[in-house]
Structure formats: structure tokens, C-alpha cells
């Protein structure tokens, strides 16, 4: 009997909790306090600080803090301070959804930045859209993210643009005729590999093999042994730093001697360069951070970030930093209410940012900027080229 009683009691409690939670939420919606001109402006932020992408989560969180510090040091937004509201999403879409709800309905942010991967950002985007709060995805590149409406922007290249740029590097700059592809099997690797393939095949090059692997793969000897037999001119590897470093190391050990072309995923100073060590020399990547840029914004960012974090910044950090800079620019020029911020972002033209000159955003919210080509030389990313051909870098607007 006592068993039954305790159970009934608890069930009633839980049911009540659910109902209260449901109703409480409906009445509790908060709109950002626009009237108060002295209160700090809140900007929401989420990143995978824990979980399998914690390394990126760490980089972008540092960048976000640096950006807010910088904005405030430069006088804030017309005298108002900016405040960062940052959460960890553990790389789980379900958490990203509740974070997005919390940011938009509880915390009163006027805009948000996603420092997370595609599936989390993808899950959160519609919530910002519905709440009419602008959100910029720093480096998530799932094509659907920006398709929901006007309020969602992307600060990195959409996958198709970077894939094309990779193809350009492969066939137009490096003159490769036969290519093997090794891509990480998620939206990132797949989107890049697909548009890369499309581009190189249109230029008459041949993709001789395509293999995919999970984010946690470490053992590439079997597949590299196979590729060695095919003797391609180039290996294209859209992947992340952990896997990319292993491919670099194992290719060197197997004495592959094939030029490798990576993507922004391996643009990581900590994980990629240190783990792959000297074996990475000569690898070329497409990215959006040009370390040798003459732009003051870029050099300031690199200097400030290195001073703060104790190591050189990577691409995800630079992209995240720029999201905040773009938001600040928009707010300074157009006002700090969500709608005005959104409109302001669409108006941005030729804005100097850490990741280069931002030419503007199209109607989907996709950024247009030059693709940077970097080569690893003496254990550092250095300038190799820059792609500014509009046919390649212009993002699709559908």
C-alpha cells in the first residue's frame, strides 16, 4: 500500500509540475527592454563547451568574451555596455532548442551568435526566427540553417561556396587531374565534398575515390593504403583537426607523397598543428582567416586573442569574433532593437573584419567575402592565395 501511495503522490506532483511549467511559460514571455537606454545590451551565445566538440567550444567562447570586451573597450554601443549571455549546449540539439528558448524568452537578448555545429544550430535557428531575434551562425555550414527566414545569418562560407573554392584551388591553382576525397561523414564534410566534386568534374578532373569516416576516427592506414594504389594527384579532405592531423601523419608515414588540400575544419592551431607537427607542412587549406592579412582588424584580433588565450587563434574563433563585430556595427549604425539589428546587418557593406573584408549579406543571410587559401609552412598557416572570383564566392540565395 505504501508503495502505491508514494507513487500516486509523486505522479500528481510531476503532472502539476508539467502543467505549471507549460502555463508559466506562456505568460512569462519577455521582450528585450528597449526602453531602458542605460541597461547593458544582452547578446546571447551558445557553444559546445562540454561534449565531443569541446575544443571548438573553448576557442569560440574565448573569442566571444574577447569580442565583447573589445566592443566595450571601444565605448560600447553608443555608450551602452554589451553583456554576453553564454550557454553550453553539450553538442545536443535538444539542449540548443531549450537554450534558444531561454535566450529569446527569458534572458531578453537582442541578438544571438551560435558558436556551435550544424545540427545544434539548425535546431535552434527556427526559434530565433519565430522570436524575431537575429542570430548569426559563426561556422555551422548546413545549407538549411539560413533558409528559415530573415533573422538568421551565417558568418562563414556556406558549404557550397567553400567546396567550389576548394575545387578552384585543386584544378585551377594546383592543376590536379585525378583526385581522391576523404571526408568526415557529417553535413560539413558531405556538403563540401559534394560541391567540390561538382566543380572539379565540371572542369574535367576526375574523382577517383571517395571515402568517408566518423568524427572520432583515428586509423586511416587502410584507406590511405588503398588511395596510394590509385596514385591521385591530390587528396581533398574536408574534415576537422583531430581526424585531419591523423590523415596528415599517416600519409607521411606511408610516404604517400600526394598533395593534400584541406578545409577550414583543420584551421586549428592547437589541435591540428601540434598533433600533426612537421608532417603537415605543405598542406593547403581553404579558410576565412588570412594570418598575413594587411587588415588592421585581422592583425588586432590575432594579437589580442593570442595575448588572452596564450595560443594563436583558429578559424572558428575568428568567425565567432566577427559575428559580434558585425552585430556591434549594425547596432551602432542602426539601433539596438532586434528588428533594427537585422535590417542593419543586411545594410552592411565592405566591413573590415578579422576574417577579411565582408562584402555584405545576401537575402538569405549568407555572407560574401573572399576565400583565403593558406599553406602550412614551418608549422604555421601562411598566405598562399585568395579567391575573389564572384562566380565562386557568391553564396546561393535560394
Amino acid at each position: 500500500m505504501k508503495n502505491k501511495r508514494i507513487q500516486s503522490l509523486l505522479v500528481v506532483l510531476i503532472a502539476l509540475g508539467l502543467i505549471v511549467a507549460g502555463c508559466g511559460g506562456a505568460g512569462g514571455d519577455k521582450k528585450p527592454a528597449a526602453a531602458d537606454n542605460k541597461a547593458p545590451i544582452k547578446i546571447g551565445f551558445f557553444a559546445p563547451v562540454t561534449g565531443p566538440a569541446a575544443a571548438d567550444g573553448d576557442s569560440v567562447t574565448k573569442a566571444a568574451k574577447l569580442a565583447v570586451e573589445k566592443i566595450n573597450k571601444d565605448g560600447g554601443i553608443n555608450g551602452r555596455k554589451v553583456e554576453l549571455v553564454a550557454y553550453d549546449d553539450n553538442l545536443k540539439p535538444q539542449e540548443a532548442v531549450s537554450i534558444a528558448q531561454k535566450l529569446t524568452t527569458k534572458d531578453g537578448v537582442v541578438a544571438a551568435v551560435s558558436g556551435s555545429y550544424s545540427h545544434t544550430t539548425r535546431a535552434a535557428a527556427p526559434i530565433f526566427e519565430n522570436a524575431k531575434i537575429p542570430m548569426i551562425a559563426a561556422y555551422a555550414l548546413h545549407p538549411d540553417i539560413t533558409k528559415g527566414g530573415d533573422y538568421v545569418f551565417r558568418q562563414s562560407f556556406v558549404g557550397t561556396a567553400q567546396g567550389k573554392a576548394g575545387g578552384y584551388v585543386a584544378v585551377d591553382m594546383l592543376k590536379a587531374k585525378t583526385i581522391a576525397i576523404l571526408n568526415v561523414d557529417n553535413d560539413f564534410g558531405t556538403t563540401l565534398a559534394d560541391s567540390f566534386t561538382q566543380y572539379v568534374e565540371s572542369k574535367g578532373a576526375k574523382v577517383v575515390s571517395r571515402d568517408k569516416f566518423t568524427m572520432v576516427e583515428k586509423e586511416f592506414n587502410p584507406v590511405l593504403t588503398k588511395i596510394k594504389q590509385l596514385k591521385p594527384d591530390l587528396i581533398y579532405m574536408p574534415t576537422y583537426s583531430g581526424t585531419g592531423a591523423q590523415i596528415a601523419r599517416q600519409a607521411k608515414e606511408l610516404n604517400l607523397g600526394i598533395q593534400m588540400l584541406g578545409t577550414e575544419g583543420i584551421d586549428s592551431t592547437m589541435e591540428f598543428l601540434k598533433v600533426s607537427g612537421p608532417t603537415a607542412d605543405g598542406i593547403i587549406i581553404t579558410t576565412n582567416l588570412n594570418r598575413n592579412s594587411k587588415l588592421k582588424a585581422t592583425q588586432d584580433f590575432i594579437k589580442d586573442y593570442t595575448a588572452m588565450a596564450g595560443h594563436a587563434p583558429d578559424m572558428v574563433a575568428a568567425s565567432t569574433y566577427d559575428c559580434f563585430m558585425v552585430l556591434a556595427e549594425s547596432m551602432r549604425k542602426n539601433g539596438a532593437e532586434p528588428d533594427k539589428i537585422k535590417d542593419g546587418i543586411y545594410k552592411i557593406k565592405d566591413f573590415e573584419a578579422a576574417t577579411g573584408l565582408i562584402k555584405g549579406y545576401n537575402k538569405l543571410g549568407e555572407v560574401t567575402k573572399n576565400v583565403q587559401v593558406q599553406v602550412i609552412k614551418n608549422g604555421a598557416f601562411t598566405y598562399y592565395g585568395e579567391i575573389s572570383d564572384p562566380a565562386i564566392i557568391t553564396p546561393p540565395d535560394k
Partner: protein, 290 residues
């Protein structure tokens, strides 16, 4: 290419054998699927990394990594698992998972989330045998050599030494072993010291092989080692070695010839499921007679 793939498979298999051995030993006596062993794998590598940074002496680093992880194993046994022995196996399983999550995040907080290089001096030079189309990594000799030596030592320890005799008796029938005068508390403690020490060795060696350690490095071993020890027949060290080689070879050959039509982990589990359909007691398991 064929020889190269065979060698690749053996290396992968050896890494699995090494990784799964700690959990096999623990299962042998405690009959629990000890997920936290994969946490010890990462812990060992990190401790070793720490001492390498502090002292610059690889030997000190390895010894401290293994020794401190073994001590950790002792503590885990005494304060976590021992009191849970008479509870449902789910309890020990979830406790182990909790500890594993805790350790991973502890390492992330202390060591940073990025992968760190575990670089014991210069890269060992590769050996090339063009006649056979073979390349042998310098680190492979280290891995294969260490695996072989450790497995031989383990084999000797279990089958030829007095502690090993006590271990085998306890694994078979703890109660009778007690009545025969064997201090089974000590055997169980020794078992965990050995099992966690093994995990640390595996973590360090894999860290060297891939020149990288990171807080989540135990994630894949956490389930891969379960596939290996179950396929081997649960708690049977020899079975574990065999199963590790079978899975390593299957993954390598399928990956190398057919392409990765499935992720490696899925390949490992497909192999496991197919073999269990044929032999529900695993490769070297003995069917329990009622």
C-alpha cells in the same frame, strides 16, 4: 597492398587487445562491464603527459602514468564497486558510466579541451620494404612490441605465477577460493590494479601512436572494448586477444577493400552480432551448463 592491409589490421587489432584487456580482467572477477576503465585509459595518458611536461623524462612519465592510474583502480574498487557487488549489475554499470563521465570532464577542466600531443621525443623512423610493398611505422614496433611483451607477461602472471593461480581460482569461484585460504579481497584489489594499469598503458601507447590525447579519448574504447570482450567470451583474456584481432582485421579489410560503407564501429558490431548468432557464448566462452 594486401600485406600492408594485413599489417594494418594486426596493428589495429593489437591496439584493441591492449585497450580491452583491462576491462577483461575486471570482468573476469567482478562480472561487471566496467565502462570507467575507458576513463582510466584517458587518465593514464593524461598523467603521463603531465609528468612528461614536468620532468621531460619519458620513463618517469610512463611509470607515473601507469602507477597512479593503478592506484586509482584500487580506490575505485574499494570505494565504488566493492559495496555494489551484491546489487543488480545495472547499478555497477551506471555507476561506472557516471565515473567515466566525471573523469572525462575532470580531464577537460584540468587539461583543457584541446587534443594535446604526447610526443616522446622524435618520431621513430619508418621501415620500408618495397619488395612487399610494405611500410612499417616506427611506432608500430613500439605498439606491437609492447603489446606482445605485456600479453606475455600477463599470460605468465596468470598461468604460471602464484598470484595468477589465485586470480584464476577467484575468477571461477570466489566463495570456494576464500574457503581455501585465498585472501580474495587482495586478489580483487590486485585485479583492479592490474586492470587499470593495463588501461593506462593502452592509453599512453595509443596516445603515442596517434601523437594525441584528449579528454574524450576514452569514448570509442568505452564501447569498442565491450564489443571485443563480449566477442572473446567475457572475461577470457585469450579470447579478448583473438576477438580484438578478428575485429581489427575485419574493420581494416572491409575499410581498405570495400570502402567505409559503414563506420568502423558499426562494422565491429555487425561482426559481433553475426558471430554471437553463431556462438552465443562468444569465441572462447564456454556455454554455462545448468
Amino acid at each position: 597492398m594486401f600485406f600492408q592491409q594485413i599489417v594494418n589490421g594486426i596493428v589495429v587489432g593489437s591496439v584493441y587487445a591492449l585497450t580491452a584487456m583491462g576491462a577483461t580482467l575486471v570482468y573476469g572477477i567482478m562480472r561487471i562491464l566496467d565502462i570507467s576503465n575507458a576513463g582510466a585509459y584517458a587518465l593514464g595518458a593524461y598523467i603521463s603527459f603531465f609528468f612528461l611536461l614536468q620532468t621531460g623524462n619519458p620513463l618517469v612519465a610512463v611509470v607515473m602514468g601507469v602507477a597512479l592510474t593503478a592506484v586509482f583502480g584500487f580506490i575505485v574498487q574499494k570505494f565504488l564497486y566493492a559495496p555494489l557487488m551484491d546489487k543488480s549489475p545495472n547499478v555497477a554499470l551506471i555507476a561506472g558510466i557516471g565515473l567515466f563521465i566525471f573523469l572525462q570532464d575532470f580531464l577537460r577542466l584540468v587539461g583543457g579541451p584541446q587534443a594535446r600531443e604526447l610526443n616522446f621525443g622524435a618520431m621513430l623512423p619508418s621501415v620500408r620494404l618495397p619488395g612487399l610493398g610494405l611500410t612499417l611505422y616506427g611506432t608500430w614496433f613500439l605498439i606491437l612490441g609492447a603489446t606482445a611483451v605485456l600479453l606475455l607477461v600477463l599470460w605468465y602472471l596468470l598461468n604460471r605465477s602464484t598470484v595468477g593461480l589465485a586470480w584464476r581460482a577467484t575468477a571461477q569461484d570466489l566463495e570456494t577460493a576464500k574457503a581455501m585460504g585465498i585472501n580474495t579481497n587482495r586478489v580483487v584489489a590486485f585485479n583492479f590494479i592490474l586492470g587499470y594499469g593495463f588501461a593506462a598503458v593502452a592509453g599512453i601507447l595509443v596516445g603515442i601512436l596517434y601523437n594525441s590525447i584528449y579528454p574524450m579519448m576514452g569514448d570509442v574504447p568505452a564501447y569498442k572494448m565491450l564489443a571485443v570482450i563480449v566477442l572473446g567470451g567475457l572475461g577470457n583474456p585469450l579470447g579478448t586477444v583473438l576477438a580484438a584481432l578478428v575485429i581489427g582485421m575485419a574493420e581494416t579489410l572491409i575499410g581498405g577493400y570495400v570502402g567505409f560503407f559503414l563506420p568502423r564501429d558499426a562494422i565491429a558490431f555487425v561482426v559481433l552480432i553475426l558471430i554471437l548468432l553463431w556462438r552465443p557464448q562468444g569465441l572462447l566462452g564456454r556455454r554455462r551448463v545448468s
